[in-house]
């Protein structure tokens, strides 16, 4: 509960905001105009580059979601000398999945619930707290957060740091002072809605979506006004076309998807209202086509018998106009999803030579185990190749775009179906990949898990889980639970693969020094050779790492690498939430695969910044 003084402050802030609305609008228009000009004049490098300035303005680094930095001070040759420059404890003890942001000489860190934002001054060579912002989200939100109370980071634009709180607010604070600029409530935790994703800011739009696919939440992506926080549009993932913002411009590539109101007719009566399709993952933006790309989460409940039909548009990819939210195309990766294969993974926007033709593609390593290479202008699937052990499906028919399922692995009501690979977290969950234009490889951190499931009938009770599946996960073939795969999207094959004992639940980072960074749940922060995967350097942190490593150029001109430790998330909930491993179904079955994690790490929450000496 916020204190009385804070309520008063908040109220006053609102009034001041009102007074400045006109000014803000003007600024916004100006910024928008400038952005459009920049966008129009940018070549394809604009997609790929974090600015040469060495800043890190959004969780994915750039609009194309490459997580590639052109900084090259740290190289494969010298990375062995990397050592901690400084560290900072966030005070949190839950899963830290966020990417720090670096804007100028300030670093911004969002913690998991209670979603404190720290601005750290980088000038003194270490992290002194410049300001701290505490949004005080409702405590009850913890009870509806499906998979730990994580937050995946903030976004910066135009002097504002924008982030989401667990209790479904989007908040913008002044990057310089930490003063709250606006605070928009977007969801209702009593209905199970939370927000964990990192916003993406495109021009004057803040794009955010909700979490809660396990609680019968109806998923949406909203476009907020950057200046005021007002909701400009909200695009639902299910329901009638007008709710999904499917209009005349909508032209999916596959004919079967061009039928009106599929968001209603592919569900049992009214089930789309509680059908999931939440948007808690990654959004990419192509300024040239002026399209944002985002996925949608799993349909609810997990028990597929309760939702016959394709369940459009869950587990799908949308291309939308950022200004209006209008859908341009959509493609459902896992129609009538059977195994919680959310479609929320990152789409990396690249220009590649596919079969001898330069194409604007979107590369999506999906939870269902396939790397999709799609034409991002039309939504055509160019290739879909498994990058992990998959037995739930037999491939994607490129003519129809249909995933061909393996009937043997379909959950059956009241019966255990065994050896389903990949497991519910998919071949790859939220953890984002990195792309290096230098090697032409996509570095995919992911897991190698299989599961047994039994679907059971479940009722919808607002604000409580709506899952209907007993799950028991365990390691996949080989016995290791995590993998990092370097994927060549042009030739649709893996260049190399690293095996990790635990799921690689952290993001990846690629740099121009041909080093790829990632962290492991057993506390190692690792640097590997981008070309060969050879382990070059590793450092043991205080807690397991599930955060997103970033790199930046400090005020002193040196290249730094930063990552948050703090084990947790769905995979690490056994540690962060003290779950009991004797229940193989705990944390939706993930605990069974992570019984030994408490022996390798403890709770924590520390920012680590590394540099060459």
């Amino acid at each position: 509960m916020p204190g009385a003084q804070e309520i008063v402050d908040w109220w006053n802030a609102g009034r001041r905001r009102h007074r400045r609305r006109v000014a803000a609008l003007g600024v916004a228009l100006l910024v928008a105009l400038l952005t459009i000009i920049v966008a129009v004049h940018s070549d394809h490098h604009a997609l790929a580059a974090v600015g040469e300035d060495g800043q890190w303005l959004r969780a994915a680094g750039d609009y194309a979601s490459t997580r590639y930095s052109p900084l090259a001070q740290i190289t494969a040759a010298n990375v062995r000398q990397l050592r901690p420059a400084w560290s900072f404890s966030t005070g949190g003890a839950r899963g830290h999945e966020a990417a720090p942001l670096v804007v100028g000489d300030t670093m911004y860190v969002v913690t998991p619930y209670p979603n404190v934002v720290y601005a750290l001054d980088l000038r003194a060579g270490g992290g002194t707290v410049r300001w701290k912002y505490e949004p005080k989200p409702a405590a009850a939100a913890q009870g509806v957060a499906c998979c730990d109370v994580v937050n995946r980071g903030a976004a910066y634009a135009d002097g504002r740091v924008v982030f989401n709180t667990l209790d479904a607010h989007t908040i913008a604070v002044d990057a310089r002072t930490g003063r709250e600029l606006w605070n928009t409530k977007l969801g209702e935790i009593n209905r199970g809605e939370t927000m964990t994703m990192a916003p993406l800011i495109v021009r004057d739009r803040v794009l955010v979506g909700n979490s809660g696919g396990e609680l019968g939440v109806r998923g949406w992506l909203a476009g907020l006004d950057l200046a005021t926080g007002a909701v400009a549009w909200r695009a639902y993932s299910t329901g009638p076309d007008r709710d999904v913002l499917i209009g005349r411009a909508f032209r999916p590539f596959y004919a079967a998807d061009r039928v009106p109101n599929l968001g209603v007719t592919t569900w049992p009566a009214e089930a789309w209202r509680i059908g999931g399709g939440t948007m808690w993952g990654w959004i990419s933006y192509d300024p040239e086509l002026d399209l944002v790309y985002h996925g949608t989460g799993n349909p609810g409940p997990w028990n597929p018998d309760q939702r016959p039909g394709d369940n459009k548009w869950t587990s799908a990819i949308f291309a939308r106009r950022p200004a209006t939210g209008e859908a341009v195309w959509a493609y459902q990766l896992s129609p009538h999803d059977l195994h919680d294969y959310d479609g929320i993974n990152e789409q990396i926007l690249l220009d590649l030579d596919i079969k001898g033709r330069r194409r604007k593609v979107l590369v999506r390593p999906d939870r269902n185990g396939y790397v999709y290479v799609m034409d991002r202008a039309t939504g055509e699937v160019l290739s879909a190749t498994p990058f992990a052990h998959v037995n739930t499906s037999k491939g994607v028919d490129l003519a129809t775009g249909q995933l061909s399922l393996n009937d043997e692995k379909t959950p059956v009501l009241g019966k255990v179906v065994r050896d389903i690979c990949p497991a519910a977290p998919g071949a790859k969950d939220w953890q984002p990949s990195a792309w290096s234009p230098r090697t032409g490889l996509l570095y995919v951190p992911h897991q190698n898990l299989c599961m047994d499931v039994e679907s059971v009938e479940t009722g919808y009770i607002a604000g409580t889980p709506f899952v209907g599946m007993n799950v028991r996960m365990y390691s996949g073939p080989g016995g290791h639970r995590g993998e990092v795969t370097a994927w060549d999207p042009v030739n649709a094959r893996a260049a190399w693969k690293l095996k990790e004992p635990f799921p690689v639940w952290s993001g990846a980072l690629a740099t121009a020094g041909d080093v790829v960074f990632y962290g492991t749940m057993d506390r190692w922060f690792k640097a590997v050779d981008a070309k060969t995967g050879e382990l070059l350097w590793r450092f043991q942190t205080a807690s397991g790492i599930i955060g997103q490593p970033i790199t930046y150029r400090g005020p002193d001109g040196k290249q730094y690498v930063a990552v948050l430790d703090g084990v947790g998330g769905w995979a690490g909930a056994i540690v962060s939430a003290d779950l009991d491993p004797r229940d193989t179904g705990a944390a939706l079955g993930f605990v069974n695969a992570m019984r030994d994690l408490p022996a390798h790490t403890a709770k924590g929450g520390t920012l680590w910044v590394f540099a060459l000496p």
Binding site: E408, V416, R418, D419, C450, D452, Y474
Partner: protein
């Protein structure tokens, strides 16, 4: 009038094999327990139909080592048991007692090997799934027979050592042998079902 009385006083008081009523009693026991094991075996095959893979994924094929050792021990034990049988018919107290002692050791060896099978070779628990349940039950039932028979042998050995010894004790040794043949023999189909069948089914 000579056939008005049928004098049986000259008949012997001890008989072996199907002539002895206790032999028939043990045959009845064998029939009952054979049926019970057969029914569990049939249940095993019935439950098999509910599985795509057998044993189910996550459970390894039952390891052959200890079970095959068990097979060897049990089959080999038929020989000393047959010798005891023959000695019993000759009503030789000391050798029979010694032979029964050997049988007790062999029974314990079989039980030790069975413990190894439960401990690791099956790769699952009785409460893991129906496969685990039926396999544990099959092996457990058979182990219970081995245990019972071993205890019987031990008891009889004790009687022969301590005394007083009756002639019928040799009949008991003889039917113990008969029962043991059954136990050893029935391990062959049990072994085949539990350890070999999943490799072909």
């Amino acid at each position: 009038m000579s056939q008005r009385a049928l004098d049986v006083s000259a008949l012997p008081t001890i008989a072996y094999g199907p002539r002895a009523s206790i032999w028939w009693g043990v045959l009845g026991l064998v029939a009952i327990e054979g049926s019970a094991l057969a029914i569990v075996g049939v249940s095993y095959l019935y439950l098999r139909q509910n599985f795509v893979a057998w044993p189910p994924p996550g459970t390894p094929l039952p390891a052959l080592g200890a079970a095959t050792g068990d097979l060897v021990v049990l089959l080999a034990s038929i020989v000393p048991m047959a010798i005891v049988d023959r000695l019993a018919r000759a009503e030789r107290r000391r050798p029979v007692a010694i032979g029964l002692g050997v049988m007790v050791l062999l029974g314990l060896a079989s039980l030790a090997l069975r413990a190894l099978q439960f401990a690791g070779a099956l790769g699952c628990r009785w409460d893991s799934h129906a496969y685990g349940s039926v396999v544990w039950t099959l092996l457990g039932m058979h182990a219970a027979h081995v245990l019972t028979s071993t205890l019987e042998n031990a008891l009889l050995m004790a009687v022969l050592v301590v005394g007083p010894v009756e002639r019928k004790d040799f009949v008991d040794a003889h039917v113990n042998a008969f029962y043991w043949y059954f136990i050893a023999a029935v391990w062959v189909p049990t072994y085949a079902l539990v350890y070999l069948a999943p490799r072909f089914l």
